[in-house]
Amino acid sequence: MMIRPTEAQHKQWEEEGYLVFENAIEGDELRRLQKAFDYWAEKCKPEWIERLEAGEATATFYDIPNVLEKDEVFVDIVDCPSYYGSLMAFTDDDLIFLAPQVRMVPPWPLSYTGWHPDVARTNPLHIKVQIYVNDVEPGCGEFAFVPGSHKPNVGPYSRPKWQESMPGHKTLPGKAGTAIMFNTYGWHTAMDNHSDTPRKSIILIYEKRTPGRVDAKRFASIAHYCTTPQRRKLFSLEEE
C-alpha cells in the first residue's frame, strides 16, 4: 500500500523542505518497534561503552549496528506506508535506501550536534526520515529544521553557538511513532535535551537513485525480507 502526498503536502515539501507524519507508526507496529529498539539498544550498550573507553566511539550517542539484520521490524519501517508514498513521489518513483541510524542519545547539557545540512546541492536529492521511538517533548532533544533552507539561492546560513539562535528555525517535538521527513540540503539539528530522558529515534536515509550508488551486496544479508520487486529495488538488490 502506498499513500501518495496530498497537494498541501506537495506544496509544503517544495516550499519548506519537510513534512511531519503524526502516528506514522502506531498500535502493535509501534510496540513491536519499541520492543526491538529497547532490546537491541540494551544488548549493544556494553560494547559501545567499551569502545567509548578505548577512544573509538563518542559518548554523545550510539547507533545499534547492523540493525536490519537484527529484527525484521527495522526493515518494515523503511517502506512504511505512511511516508513511503511521499518518498516515492518526491523522487519520481526512483528511490533507493542508503542506511538506517537507530540511535540512542543520552541527556547532556549540550545538543549532540550543531546546525548543519547533510549534503551539497550537487548531491542527488537526499532525504531523511526521522522516527521518534519515544515521546520527544519540547526541550528534550527534538529535531529542528529551518523551513526553506533546502532551496537554492537562500542563506547563507552559518552555525550559531546556541541552537535556539538559528534564525527562522522550527522545532518539531512529537509523540512516539511520529515521522519527520526532510530534505537534507536544508539546515537541521537536534535541540538541547534539558530532561533526564534519552532520545530514542531512528533516522532512515534515502536518495533519488543514481546508477551504482548502492552495491547490490550492501543489503544482501536481508534479501530474504525483500520478496517484492518494489522492496528489492528500494534496497538495490537488483538494478533495473
Binding site: A54, G55, A57, T58, A59, T60, P106, L110, G114, D196
Partner: protein, 300 residues
C-alpha cells in the same frame, strides 16, 4: 603581540633540592632545564610560556617548577598537579598558588560515571571539590582527560562558567590502552581517523570559558611534520572556537628531536595557511596572554 608557548614541561635532575618521581623516559639523571628551553625560545622569538608540572603531584615534587617561576617571574606561568588521593585538595591548591605563579591545575580524569546514560550529580564527581574551589579562587583548569571522561566535562563547565578551562592537545581525550612512548621518547596516542572528540570537544565551543591548545600533533598524527592528517581537525577547531580561544604550544621537551622547537613555531603556516595576521597573532600568543593573564615582560 607576545608569542607564548602555552604548554610545555621542564625538569631538573632528581635531587634532594629538586625531588621528583622518575621513570624510563625521565630517569633521575635526565634534565630538561628551563635555561635550555629559554635558549630555544630566544632563538625563535618566543616571549613567554606555561610550564606544566611533571614528575609528581605532591608539594615537594613541584619544587623545580616553583623555582623556575620565581626566578623568571615575568616569563612563565605554571600549572600544578593534585594528588588523586589527597583528603584536602583545596589546601593543596592554595599552597601551590600562594604568590608562586602557578595559576591552575592539570586534571587527567574527571571522576564521574562512565555510562553516559547514568544519572549525573556533579557533587558526586571525584573532582567536584577541585572545580568548586577553582571557581571560588579563579584558578585555571587544564584538562587532558581520558576518553571515558570526555562527556563529563560539559556538566562541570556548565555548572562553573567562571572557571577558565583549557583543553590540552587539540581537545583529544586518549582512549584506554592507547598511550605509549615512541622510539624518540615522545608520547604516542593511537587515535582513530574518525575522531570521537568531534562530538565532545567541538560541542564545548559553546562555552566562552573554554579554550583549546593546538599542540601535541606529533602524538596523534600518523604522519611526520607538518601532520597534514590533522589539518581538518585544526580547521574545525578554528571554525568552532575562533582564534581568540585557541593557543599554540609545543609540548617541549618531547619535540626537541622531532620535529624541533623552531619547526613547530611554523606549524600553522602548514596546517592553517589561510589565517589572517590577527588570527595568527591570537593563536601564537594573544589568546594565552588574555585568557591566562600573562604579565608584561620585564627585564629579568
Amino acid at each position: 603581540m607576545p608569542r607564548i608557548d602555552a604548554h610545555l614541561h621542564v625538569f631538573a635532575k632528581a635531587s634532594s633540592e629538586f625531588p621528583r618521581e622518575t621513570n624510563e623516559i625521565y630517569p633521575a639523571d635526565r634534565e630538561e632545564p628551563v635555561e635550555k628551553l629559554m635558549i630555544e625560545m630566544e632563538a625563535h622569538q618566543i616571549d613567554q610560556a606555561v610550564l606544566v608540572q611533571i614528575g609528581g603531584t605532591c608539594i615537594a615534587h613541584h619544587t623545580y617548577l616553583l623555582h623556575c617561576l620565581k626566578t623568571y617571574s615575568d616569563r612563565f606561568l605554571g600549572i600544578g598537579l593534585i594528588p588523586a588521593d589527597t583528603p584536602d585538595p583545596e589546601a593543596h591548591m592554595d599552597e601551590l598558588t600562594d604568590g608562586t605563579g602557578i595559576i591552575g591545575f592539570r586534571l587527567s580524569s574527571i571522576g564521574g560515571p562512565k555510562d553516559p546514560f547514568a544519572q549525573v550529580d556533579i557533587r558526586e564527581f571525584k573532582t567536584y571539590r577541585i572545580w568548586r574551589h577553582a571557581a571560588e579562587k579563579d584558578y585555571v583548569l587544564w584538562l587532558y582527560p581520558r576518553a571515558i571522561d570526555a562527556h563529563l566535562i560539559a556538566y562541570l563547565v556548565d555548572a562553573f562558567p567562571q572557571v577558565r578551562v583549557v583543553l590540552n592537545h587539540l581537545g583529544i581525550c586518549p582512549g584506554k590502552g592507547k598511550f605509549s612512548w615512541d622510539a624518540k621518547g615522545r608520547p604516542h596516542i593511537e587515535t582513530p581517523s574518525y575522531n570521537p572528540a568531534f562530538h565532545t570537544t567541538y560541542r564545548l565551543s559553546r562555552y566562552e570559558n573554554v579554550a583549546v591548545h593546538l599542540s601535541g600533533q606529533y602524538a596523534f598524527s600518523s604522519e611526520a611534520f607538518p601532520y597534514r592528517d590533522l589539518a581538518g581537525w585544526h580547521r574545525s577547531l578554528l571554525t568552532s572556537y575562533g582564534s581568540k580561544r585557541l593557543m599554540w604550544a609545543t609540548d617541549f621537551p618531547w619535540i626537541l628531536e622531532d620535529p624541533g622547537y623552531g619547526v613547530l613555531t611554523n606549524v600553522f603556516k602548514e596546517l592553517l595557511p589561510n589565517l589572517s595576521e590577527d588570527e595568527y597573532g591570537d593563536i601564537m600568543g594573544g589568546t594565552a596572554k588574555r585568557f591566562l593573564r600573562f604579565p608584561e615582560r620585564g627585564n629579568n
